[in-house]
Symmetry: C2
Subunit: 130 residues, 2 copies
Amino acid sequence: MNIGEAASTSGVSAKMIRYYEETGLIPPAGRSGSGYRTYGPREVQVLRFVRRARDLGFPMEKVSDLLALWQDRSRASADVKRLAEAQVAALGMRIAEMQAMQETLRHLVQACAGDARPDCPILTDLGGRT
Amino acid sequence: MNIGEAASTSGVSAKMIRYYEETGLIPPAGRSGSGYRTYGPREVQVLRFVRRARDLGFPMEKVSDLLALWQDRSRASADVKRLAEAQVAALGMRIAEMQAMQETLRHLVQACAGDARPDCPILTDLGGRT
DNA sequence: CCTTGACCTTCCCATTGTGGGAACCCCCAT
DNA sequence: ATGGGGGTTCCCACAATGGGAAGGTCAAGG
């Protein structure tokens, strides 16, 4: 199949497929006589794998590691688990950062009258009398 | 003062100050005879404002809006509050997305033995038996 | 007076992934 | 043969930030 079909059945855009190939995340696809990239079920499955890993927030570099493990029949599940745990932790840190921002903002919002008057603790705080 | 001092007292890097100026977030700084950007306490305060808004996760475009409101003595606090609430909501959405990823990953991690054997539900799931 | 080192200037490049679009080629059905 | 819907490459853009090169400037000390 051509790239369009591979894209729609894998959920990865044609643009991204080419990019993944270019950056070496996936191996170069085969080419038809006229230069079209060709894909089989195997390649589509790889694309789907990448898609899901990305959906779980893994950065491309880690996706690459996961992909290598996936294709290594003699891998140790411990290695996979370690990557996944690291990602859980990475997400946790980002979540915590954003929650801290949100908390701060919530306090400020709560302190703001939100009426037609100009007085606003939010701006006062941002203005910083520090 | 020059840009270096403005940077260190505001917490915004010199690089970013120039960038903010270039993109119009802040007005062009004055220049000394030899072309150096010059800053006063007023400008530093603006930079600090930007810094804090960014620290709360506001994208530059919203920072620009906040900055305009900050400098508008006749603003309504309701407008500021609305921006802040939108940011709380935006953060909430991103947090929720990441929590969903984290939750999924946690389940997978839990199901993975993490030993020397190759069997791993994490990879099986990513591989997609869909 | 001149050198040295710290500072400033602009300009370009890279990042992380993703999308948009131009210019051009190809294949199939009508 | 022609038209439309593929495909190909290449360049541009985003949000924000950092790195670094090549060159101008300023102040201090010899």
